[in-house]
């Protein structure tokens, strides 16, 4: 899979990239553990519409 097209390729996304939660988990872990914002993203985002 060329990395130029993987991002929008449904087969790659379903059958490889997100076939388990591992890849997404590794990425979200980095933000959750090491983010320096005093406000978590989802709380910040909720504030945009409240």
């Amino acid at each position: 899979m060329s990395h130029d097209v993987f991002w929008t390729n449904p087969s790659y996304l379903l059958e490889e990239q997100y076939v388990t939660s591992a890849n997404l988990g590794n990425r979200s872990h980095l933000h959750d553990r090491y983010g320096t914002s005093p406000i978590p993203f989802r709380a910040w985002e909720a504030g945009l519409v409240n």
């Binding site: 899979m1 993987f6 449904p10 990239q17 090491y34 983010g35 320096t36 910040w44 945009l48 519409v49």
Partner: protein
């Protein structure tokens, strides 16, 4: 996202967090979001932009092969507003300031190898990448600072 299984004007709020860059035709997805929103509804669309996590992507570019930083640009900060303007009347961008301060180089390696081109790295390239991250974490003040460039578009109304 390009064919939402919902009736017209069903929702007050639609949230799309860091996923529209996976949609082959983002404009079609925006039209679907607009269709299922009530007239006074709001779409909240989070994404990132060029330079997001550049310190990490630089390592992938250098050690595995280039252009990691170009990934996901079918819909990002730079092109987002122009696309959204075709569907929504009011669009405001909000930046989420959240640089990372990473102390465990293994977590950087896990991130860097979670998608192409990093996921295709050889065992040797992974070892070299980990060495680089380890050195950068040690050299940083309290860890390796990773800059982020992310946030959300708040969209409402009807576009042009």
């Amino acid at each position: 996202m390009q064919e939402l299984p919902f009736s017209d004007k069903s929702f007050d709020l639609v949230v799309a967090n860091h996923m529209l860059y996976h949609v082959p035709d983002p404009l079609r997805a925006f039209r679907e979001i607009r269709r299922v929103l009530r007239p006074d509804g709001t779409a909240l669309i989070a994404t990132n932009g060029m330079g997001h996590m550049r310190q990490l992507f630089d390592a992938v570019d250098d050690l595995v092969g280039g252009r990691a930083q170009l990934l996901g640009q079918s819909f990002g900060i730079e092109v987002g507003e122009a696309l959204l303007r075709q569907v929504f009347g009011t669009i405001t961008w909000h930046s989420f300031m959240n640089p990372l301060l990473v102390t465990d180089p293994n977590d950087l390696l896990a991130y860097a190898t979670s998608f192409p081109p990093g996921e295709n790295a050889t065992v040797g390239q992974r070892a070299t990448m980990l060495e680089r991250f380890t050195a950068e974490v040690a050299d940083g003040a309290g860890g390796l600072r990773i800059d982020t460039r992310a946030g959300a578009f708040v969209c409402s109304g009807a576009g042009i």
